[in-house]
Point group: C2
DNA sequence: ATATGTGCAAACCTTTTGCAGTCAG
DNA sequence: CTGACTGCAAAAGGTTTGCACATAT
């Protein structure tokens, strides 16, 4: 078991994510945190993002394009990902726990959860036409 | 526009995927195709997998653990991913197009589709306890 | 003939890790 | 004091790409 000591870097990363709703990448976190901690290393950013995601204080969002995104909002919710600009936007969609049961029909394993991402074009990209 | 010429390598890759239901990685495809084409390169495998996915003849499944998986079954369907062994299994779950409309409520972009992956433990990993 | 496909190898991008030193409890 | 955390740099893992040659049409 790991004892978890305080670290200013970790707090700053968490604070930063709470201040944003645009689901930054690890590199974006790194670039921004460096304004406060010029010597922080990318490795430390990754280690803390992993740790925070493991203990449930942030969410890690795996995307097909580019790197993973991180979310300071840990309330269960779904994401929209723009296929043009790759921006990740929160959706106002209630949790769909029931689809786990639908998926369990005729399946001989144990389904414990799901992720769902919605794709299309975001408002900005539509208007850029 | 690209003219698309026949290639034995590409056909072999497509055939291989059609013969499997376990959603192999690019590297698994490479290893197996090499039995028929000992000199094929990994680059060629990636190029053809991308091309086939682009023209809709195979599906590319992005996972959070390890590399992408590929599926010769292009019928719309959902996948279960085991959190222990990372195996990817087809689910017998009818298409849930309607959740796109649910997600569109209060959203100012255009939702064109979704992906959903279910997580948990597969039958084999449960019995390995 | 010529555009597309291939093999090879190098490059790329994101993420992880080993190490020696630093810091919190 | 001790284990957790850090910066650094190297390495890992998966994927893409530039090039010269081969092949399909």
């Amino acid at each position: 078991m790991q004892a978890l000591k305080y670290s200013r870097q970790r707090e700053a990363i968490k604070e930063f994510l709470l201040s944003r709703t645009d689901h930054p990448t690890a590199d974006t976190v790194y670039t921004n945190i460096r304004q406060e901690f010029p010597n922080i290393s990318l490795g430390t950013v990754y280690r803390n993002l992993s740790l925070l995601a493991d203990i449930g204080e942030i969410l890690k969002i795996s995307t097909s394009e580019g790197g993973d995104r991180f979310d300071g909002n840990t309330m269960p919710h779904y994401h929209f990902i723009c296929t043009k600009c790759n921006s990740v936007i929160d959706l106002d969609l209630k949790n769909m726990e029931h689809i786990n049961e639908l998926a369990s029909v005729n399946f001989n394993g144990k389904i414990e959860g799901h992720i769902a991402h919605f794709y299309g074009q975001c408002e900005k990209c539509i208007s850029k036409h």
